[in-house]
Amino acid sequence: MSESKTPLLDDLEQGPWPSFVTEMKRAAEKNESAKDLLHQLERSYEDRIGYWKHGGIVGVRGYGGGVIGRYSELGDEFPAVSEFHTFRVNQPSGWFYTTDKLRQLCDVWDKHGSGLTNLHGATGDIILLGAPTDALQPCFDDLAEIGFDLGGSGSDMRTPSCCVGPGRCEYACFDTLELLYNITMEFQNELHRPMFPYKSKIKISGCPNDCVAAIPRSDISVIGTWRDKIQVNPEGVAYHAENGVDIQAEVVDLCPTECMAWDANKKELKIEDAECNRCMHCINILPRGLRPGKERGATILVGGKAPIVHGALLSWVIVPFMKMEEPFDEFKELVENIWEWWDENGKMRERLGELINRLGMREFLKAVNLPPAPQMIKEPRANPYYFWDPEEVK
């Protein structure tokens, strides 16, 4: 028996967690580029350094994004990965699939690419990992044939994503899946043809649990919320109390606004809804007993991003409450206004949050015509360095 060429990676086939090395080897049985990828990775494990070069411009006809160019530095040694580009393929809302649809995708990818994928990339796309330059257009043509379009890359609207929403979650305060599909279709041009100062992300969560991490990473974050009272089902609350939940300790004492009281004898939970900030904690602990209210919509926040260039930001509230009903015109108009201001004022590779920081929230609110509200801030300013419009001082 010949000695293994990948002793370091072989070690990662042991253990209970699913092994990506096993997956690479399965693909390598059928595909030369997957085999070369495995061997190049073993070299990285030996040398403790990556061997991928910067992407040149690659793509498919009619689009400026959706394909990431990738070339090996070790192309002489591993020729099958000398060109090894990535497709970002736009996922269906909520990552729901039929097995037929997924098999069609596998057939296309086995025909044109490495047979390796990420389900899914962090942005939300299906990632098809590794195809040579001359396979890109035929692969996209076949993807189009089975109804899969490309996602975003570069300075465009990145592929938006959303939580499972009303598909399978009683917390969803609006139809996250439909909103996602609607804006994806509305903004196809912005998704496929990079023309912004930098990337722009929209992420959509149906409640403040924020299962798609909208607030930490998206320029425009949509978070479901409600304006009326938490819906209480007393039998459901009692069920939890009788089945191991210490409602005083686990719910009432952990409520951040102290707006709840529990009468253990009567098994009665009282909520002073006007003081509730809708954080979801009590609803999370008592899913049979409590549900979001009936007057539902979303809070819109903007500016979230990871560190590059000037540090990470969490999104800031700019619209405390917006109804979220089809055809979502109010939201789409706001997005267009925000993009217009950013496009006009943003420097190259300046994200929306960084631009707001540089020019001021006051300028931003004026540009997108939103009224100031105390819900936007944690606390008012503590410095005396503020501006007046000369018109106001007469």
């Binding site: 990662l12 699913p18 690479m24 990552w95 962090a122 990473r217």
Partner: protein, 353 residues
């Protein structure tokens, strides 16, 4: 033939199982039945069971066909994925739930990742396919999750704990708000390849890409200079310009950040904070990183109250107590010196010994 463009993703409503189509938006409540199993009940009384399975994220088409076969057998040909790379098998016939779980266990699919667990770590490409990584991604996640597997499969923690990994400061995937974030970092300034800079880079963009102003023009030679003392190795210039590589086997490694959260439950979202500034790249199993992560998980699990996330626990006890309990040495790199540093300094003598 004109290429078809701008037709968008498959419409999700064509992908939904019949029970979801019927009860769309009409779900009433859910039970967390046991680790890896959720039961949702609709206003109509219909039920759907979800069996959650961890995946390695990097999967072959063979694996996709395997899970499709399982979904055909037990779920009428429907499945979904989560935002953290898990597969969810959606079962509308209760009688199929236990046979499905038994089948999955028999075929080594990990069932878990719901409730107070450590679910699948969000992670990036690393050495497999990224051009700026300071480390691998899938390999470290595999090593960490092999070690923490008991916490994926079982409910032994005070709250859930989100672990995430990014292989460089770009932090693809919002790892910066995780209970425990593992982040690849560089420690050496870029080594400028002047010929490449001249041939391939737009110099004003390279200069503007630097958050600390460490890159200066060198107009005489049509290239740039790096002021090494001002560089904090973010790699942003390299993203803009292939003539600024900073990957280095000795310089590159990992850092550990803790206490972030995304959800607004109880307390607002917050960033993870740096607690270990450097651990070496030690493939294939990165033992220093694996044991550092386990230590932090166990210290938190031992001391936190029920439902208290990592960051909420640390806020209650104070960072000085965290370093004490976790027996992590406090290093100077943990003190911020970027733009908003003063917000992290203490202005009161009320602290713990």
């Amino acid at each position: 033939m004109a290429t078809k463009t701008d037709f968008g993703p498959p419409y999700f409503k064509d992908m939904l199982p019949p029970v979801i189509e019927k009860n769309y938006g009409k779900w009433l409540y859910h039970d967390r039945v046991k680790p890896g199993l959720l039961k949702h009940v609709a206003e109509s009384g219909d039920e759907i069971y979800t069996v959650r399975v961890g995946s390695g994220r990097l999967v072959s088409t063979d694996w996709i066909r395997d899970v499709c076969e399982i979904a055909d057998k037990f779920c009428g040909g429907h499945l979904r994925f989560t935002s953290r790379h898990n597969v969810e098998f959606l079962v509308s016939d209760e009688a199929q739930v236990e046979p499905l779980i038994a089948y999955l266990k028999e075929h080594s699919y990990p069932v878990g990742g719901t409730g107070h667990s450590i679910t699948n770590p969000v992670h990036t490409q690393g050495w497999i396919h990224c051009h700026t990584p300071a480390t691998d991604a899938s390999g470290i996640v595999k090593a960490v999750m092999d070690d923490l597997f008991e916490y994926f499969e079982d409910w032994k923690l005070p709250a859930y704990c989100r672990v995430a990994l990014a292989c460089c400061l770009n932090m693809c995937g919002a790892v910066h708000c995780s209970d425990i974030a593992i982040l690849g970092i560089h420690r050496k300034p870029p080594v400028v390849n002047h010929d490449t800079v001249r041939a391939k880079c737009e110099i004003p963009n390279v200069i503007a890409s630097c958050p600390t102003g460490a890159i200066r023009p060198d107009p005489k030679n049509k290239t740039v200079k790096v002021i090494d003392e001002k560089c904090m190795y973010c790699g942003n210039c390299y993203t803009m310009c292939p003539g600024m590589p900073l990957n280095d086997p000795v310089g590159d490694g990992l850092s550990i950040w803790v206490g972030g959260k995304i959800s607004s439950a109880r307390t607002p979202p917050k960033f993870s904070r740096l607690v270990i500034p450097f651990l070496p790249n030690t493939p294939p199993r990165w033992p220093e990183t694996v044991s550092a992560v386990r230590n932090i998980v166990e210290v938190w699990a031992k001391h936190a109250r029920k439902h208290e996330r990592m960051g909420e626990w640390i806020d209650r006890i104070g960072w000085e107590r965290f370093f004490d309990l976790a027996e992590i040495p406090f290093e100077v790199q943990l003190i911020d010196d970027f733009t908003l540093a003063p917000e992290t300094f203490r202005s009161t003598p009320t602290f713990k010994w």
